[in-house]
C-alpha cells in the first residue's frame, strides 16, 4: 500500500521542528516501526539523516517506543504500544501524521525521541521499598492476599512509556505516578514507607513540569497496559492521609 507520512523532524532540543512528508510503500504484515525502518533505510541510501525514534523490545514490554499517530499516543489500537501496531490497520492512500510525545516534562531530544528521565526521578523519590540485600525474612513469612497481589500487579504492569502524559490534555503524570505508588502501597511490604512515599513522589512529580489532573480519563484510554484511573483516586486519598500522618 502507498502511504503519505508527515513526520515531525526536529534536529535537537532547542531546534525548531516541523513536519516533513515522505511517501512509502508498505506491506500489511509490517509493524508500524518496521514501516519506519524501511523509510529510514531508503533515507540512508540517499545519504539523508534517518528519522530518530526510540524502540527496543518491539514486543510491548520495555516502554521505550512511543509516538503520537494521527493524534493518538501509540496509535489507534487498544492495549497496544506502537511497536505492536501493524500496518493492517491502514489502507492504500492513507495519510499519517507522526509526532513525538508533547509535554514540557518530556523535552524532545531529536525528531520523535523525548527525554523521559522525569519518570525515573519520580521513582527515585520514593517508588521503592527499602530492604538491604540479604536482610529479608523468608518469602512466605508475610502472606499476601491473592486479591491484593493481583491488584498490585495490575498497577505494577505499567511500562513507563509516558503515553498517559502524552494523551492527557493537561500533560499530567498522575496515572504513571499513581500506578507506581499503588503497586507498592497495595502490598503489606509497602506499608512502613507508604505515607512518606506518597508525599515524596507527588512533590517530585510537581517539580517536573507536568500539568494537573482534572480527571479527564484520556490517560486510561491511551495506556497500553490498561492502568485504570482508580489508581489516581487511590493516590489522592493517600495524599490526604499522608498529610494527616505527616503532621
Amino acid at each position: 500500500m502507498k502511504l503519505k507520512l508527515h513526520v515531525w523532524r526536529q534536529a535537537g532540543p532547542a531546534a525548531r521542528g516541523g513536519f516533513v512528508t515522505y511517501e512509502t510503500d508498505a506491506s500489511e504484515h509490517m509493524s508500524f516501526l518496521e514501516m519506519l525502518d524501511v523509510v529510514n533505510e531508503e533515507l540512508e541510501e540517499k545519504g539523508e539523516d534517518p528519522i530518530v525514534f526510540d524502540s527496543d523490545c518491539r514486543e510491548g514490554i520495555c516502554g521505550t517506543c512511543g509516538m503520537v499517530i494521527n493524534g493518538r499516543p501509540h496509535g489507534p489500537w487498544k492495549r497496544t504500544t506502537v511497536c505492536q501496531l501493524h500496518m493492517r490497520e491502514y489502507k492504500d492512500g492513507d495519510e499519517i501524521w507522526v509526532e513525538p510525545w508533547r509535554a514540557d516534562g518530556f523535552p524532545v531530544q531529536k525528531d520523535l525521541m523525548v527525554d523521559r528521565s522525569a519518570f525515573d526521578r519520580i521513582v527515585a523519590a520514593g517508588g521503592y521499598i527499602s530492604v538491604r540485600t540479604g536482610s529479608a525474612p523468608d518469602a512466605n513469612a508475610i502472606p499476601v492476599q491473592q486479591v491484593d497481589a493481583e491488584k498490585s500487579m495490575d498497577a505494577a504492569a505499567c511500562i513507563g512509556c509516558g503515553a498517559c502524559v502524552a494523551a492527557c490534555p493537561n500533560a499530567s503524570a498522575m496515572l504513571f505516578t499513581s500506578a507506581k505508588a499503588a503497586h507498592l502501597n497495595l502490598l503489606p511490604q509497602g506499608q512502613p514507607e507508604r505515607w512518606g512515599r506518597v508525599l515524596d513522589m507527588i512533590l517530585t512529580m510537581e517539580a517536573e513540569k507536568f500539568g494537573t489532573c482534572t480527571n479527564h480519563g484520556a490517560c486510561e484510554n491511551a495506556c497500553p497496559k490498561e492502568i485504570k484511573i482508580d489508581v489516581i483516586a487511590m493516590l489522592n486519598r493517600d495524599y490526604m492521609k499522608a498529610l494527616l500522618k505527616a503532621g
Binding site: 514540557d104 508525599l199 494537573t212 482508580d230 495524599y239 505527616a246
Partner: protein, 225 residues
C-alpha cells in the same frame, strides 16, 4: 500550618480544595433549587421562605446574620475554588508548551473539557444573578422585599432568559463532570460508590438543569404569574 501549606502546595492538594468547595456549591445549588421550587406554591409561601432566610436563627442570631455568615462562607469558597482553578489551569497550560499539530478527538467526556470556560461562565453568571435577583441592580422592575414579584417579572425578558439558559447548560456540564470528578479527587471510589458516581452525577446535573429551566418556562407559559 505546614499541613495546610502542603495541602495547598501541590496540584493534588489544590484539586482537593476544589473538590471540597465544589461539593459545597453542589449542595448549595440543590438546596437553592428546592427553595426556589416554593415559587410554585404561590407568592406568599415564596416570600415567606425568602424572609425566613433572613430571619433564620432569630432570636439567637440577629436579622440577616445567618445569611451574611452564609454569604461570606460561600464567597470564601468561591474564591478558593476560582483561585485554585486558575492556578492549576496555568500549570497545565504551561505543561504543554508545544501543542499537537494534528489532534484527533481524544477519547474523553465532552463535559470534562468545558470545566474551565464553563466555570468562568458560571462565575459571570453568579455576579449577574446577584445583581439581578438579590440586589436588583440589573432588574428593571425590582421591588425590595417582594421576592416573588422580582422572580416572576425577572424572567419576562427574552435576553434574561437566554442568559439563564446558557448558564444552566454551563452548570449542567460543570455538574456532570464535577460531581463525578469530586468523588475521584477525594479518593472516594469504593466498589459501591464507583458504580453510582457517574449515574449520580448525570442525575444531579439533569435534575438541577431541568428544574431551574422550568422557572422561566413557567413564567412564559403563564403558569407563574
Amino acid at each position: 500550618m505546614r499541613r495546610v501549606y502542603s495541602l495547598y502546595g501541590t496540584s493534588v492538594g489544590k484539586k482537593y480544595t476544589m473538590a471540597v468547595s465544589g461539593a459545597i456549591f453542589v449542595l448549595f445549588v440543590i438546596v437553592h433549587m428546592f427553595g426556589n421550587l416554593k415559587v410554585y406554591l404561590g407568592a406568599e409561601a415564596f416570600n415567606h421562605y425568602a424572609e425566613g432566610l433572613r430571619s433564620f436563627g432569630e432570636p439567637f442570631l440577629g436579622y440577616e446574620w445567618f445569611l451574611w455568615v452564609f454569604r461570606v462562607g460561600l464567597l470564601a469558597f468561591l474564591l478558593i475554588h476560582t483561585v485554585a482553578a486558575w492556578q492549576t489551569s496555568r500549570q497545565s497550560w504551561a505543561a504543554r508548551g508545544d501543542k499537537y499539530k494534528k489532534q484527533e478527538k481524544m477519547v474523553f467526556h465532552y463535559a470534562s473539557r468545558t470545566m474551565r470556560w464553563g466555570g468562568v461562565a458560571l462565575l459571570l453568571f453568579v455576579v449577574y444573578h446577584i445583581l439581578h435577583l438579590t440586589t436588583g441592580t440589573l432588574h428593571p422592575d425590582f421591588v425590595p422585599g417582594d421576592a416573588y414579584h422580582n422572580f416572576v417579572t425577572g424572567f419576562r425578558s427574552i435576553p434574561v432568559v437566554a442568559v439563564y439558559a446558557v448558564a444552566m447548560i454551563a452548570l449542567g456540564l460543570h455538574l456532570y463532570h464535577g460531581v463525578w470528578s469530586a468523588f475521584q479527587t477525594m479518593g472516594l471510589d469504593g466498589p459501591r460508590i464507583k458504580k453510582w458516581r457517574e449515574p449520580a452525577a448525570l442525575l444531579v446535573a439533569l435534575v438541577v438543569v431541568l428544574v431551574n429551566l422550568s422557572f422561566p418556562v413557567a413564567v412564559f407559559t403563564g403558569i407563574l404569574q
